[in-house]
Assembly symmetry: C2
């Protein structure tokens, strides 16, 4: 049995290859470029971990893991266009380095390529896995649409935000685990439990993401701390503050959000602190982690098989970037 | 056995339904909108015809036909963005009626939805059909990329143009027929022959498209005649003229292409006529039709089963819109 870190190393080694045909180079070189600029590659490793929880890893798990990572990168290429983001992982985004038409088509063909890897797995579970992959892919699009819709809305409830995050982020983590578990021969009940574990981990993951964006250490975070605050992004933190702040804090917050003064981040953070955001975020994250682990607990396999998954969950929750 | 027209009517009846879930409406309503504005729906009918050539139509053929039509519409939504086209079939394109971000995501989710229909066919031929669908989808993207690349190039050979058109247009027509034939239980050899028939028909189809854009009757064509000429689009016609025109004609053509005078279309057409474009285009179309029919001829089924396909080919070649 391989540890989470060993699987991560192994996946990265296998993924360090050409993913597209050579021509037309104008289409495929930008695709290869984006896939070389890195990323944490959590999703494919979750697929491998899902398999390993129940059985030794089948080569198909690597094939699906690759498809999942391609799918995730397709969403990033198109999301970066929608968000007009010029940098991703400190490197130029596809539409910035090339142009919008190229990025549009690169995303399209990356999604198709994901399906092209998927087609090669054992026919016995292809229909089942394809079904989960499709539903999840569609849900991720729905999440992105809700994210854009929410950006235009004056107020969003925490419940709505969690619904959006579940679609945009959690379901892909959950499906990665579930698909891996199908390849590992898990029972339907165990597959479902692992899916629920992934969904809760996904929400905790996003809380940590939002927290780091406001409270991260600039040196290790790798991108500008306070970016969400500058953009008035409705994060877990902001939505909580909007729900609990008193009238004078809300008024101050309103003024800060309407302007983009040099000390905006600092002053918004001061209100966050007055409202006890760090402790609240940590408690909420702990609550979702606990729920996640309760699902994992229920899965009927010997407990040492669960260790890599627990390690992954802890890594995700304690990361500083 | 149903005729080409009867299958077309039946497909349109079945396709006149909701294709997406109800929410989020901001994502799915634009998708439904685009699917109601029509189109010739040749590709799904070709899938049904491919099935019918060998056996009575299996319900799966309708499922795949629907997936193919969704895939085709996904390419149109994104192509319209790339071409900055404001109208499609006389109606506002998705990025015009809504916005670019919506159109981007609508295209994405339409492609995913196509795969979601595909997942429901019989597992026995799912891997084979998924493989053809994926390869074709990727090739269509490659064709679109080449089309954009060629627009920036000074000169393009007829051979290059045919290669681009094969990818952008022909392979989807060919694959629609082939997938239908697989559902119909055809032998591999017959499937291949039908695919080759579709590829040749596709090229003849594009010659007719290019011809109608220059020589169509404005009233029946449904869009502006001469649009390709106005945009200096490298069509079959223009590439032929560039290859056969004499020095003075080439010079005159160069001046016309560099400017956008009110009489541009009329004057370019005059040069086309001097170079015998209408007869040349008709001969080239006839050549590809002949090659297509030779492949159809080789398919070992009783000849009356081929009639609907012959009717379709003739309809496509003699259409005026």
């Amino acid at each position: 049995m391989l540890s989470f870190q060993e699987l991560s190393t192994e996946f990265n080694k296998q993924f360090d290859t050409q993913h597209f045909p050579a021509t037309p180079n104008t289409l495929y070189a930008p695709g290869e470029y984006f896939l070389t600029i890195g990323g944490k590659r959590i999703r494919p490793v979750m697929c491998l971990l899902g398999n390993e929880l129940f059985a030794n890893i089948h080569p198909d798990a690597y094939v699906v893991a690759r498809a999942i990572e391609l799918f995730h990168n397709f969403t990033l290429v198109h999301d970066d266009m929608m968000d007009e983001a010029s940098l991703r992982r400190g490197m130029p985004t596809v539409h910035t380095k090339y142009d919008a038409n190229t990025a549009l088509l690169v995303g399209d063909v990356m999604l198709i390529r994901a399906y092209e890897f998927l087609q090669n797995i054992q026919p016995s579970y292809l229909p089942k896995i394809l079904k989960i992959f499709n539903r999840t892919a569609r849900e991720v699009c729905e999440g992105q649409q809700l994210d854009m819709d929410y950006a235009k809305m004056k107020s969003v409830s925490l419940e709505q935000y969690i619904h959006m995050i579940t679609l945009k982020t959690s379901v892909l983590l959950a499906a990665s685990l579930e698909i891996g578990s199908i390849i590992g021969g898990a029972s339907e009940n165990n597959c479902n439990l692992l899916y629920e574990f992934g969904k809760k981990i996904g929400i905790a993951f996003q809380i940590q993401d939002d927290y780091l964006d406001a409270y991260g250490d600039a040196a290790s975070f790798g991108k500008e701390v306070g970016g969400d605050i500058k953009q008035n992004k409705k994060t877990f933190l902001l939505l909580h503050v909007m729900a609990v702040a008193d009238e004078s804090q809300l008024k101050a917050l309103d003024v800060l959000l309407e302007n983009n003064d040099a000390d905006k981040v600092e002053k918004v953070l001061a209100i966050y602190n007055e409202c006890g955001v760090p402790a609240w975020a940590n408690n909420l994250k702990a609550k979702y982690m606990e729920e996640a682990f309760a699902h994992l607990e229920e899965i009927a396999v010997v407990s040492n098989r669960k260790k890599p998954l627990i390690d992954l969950a802890n890594y995700l929750m304690n990361r500083n970037k």
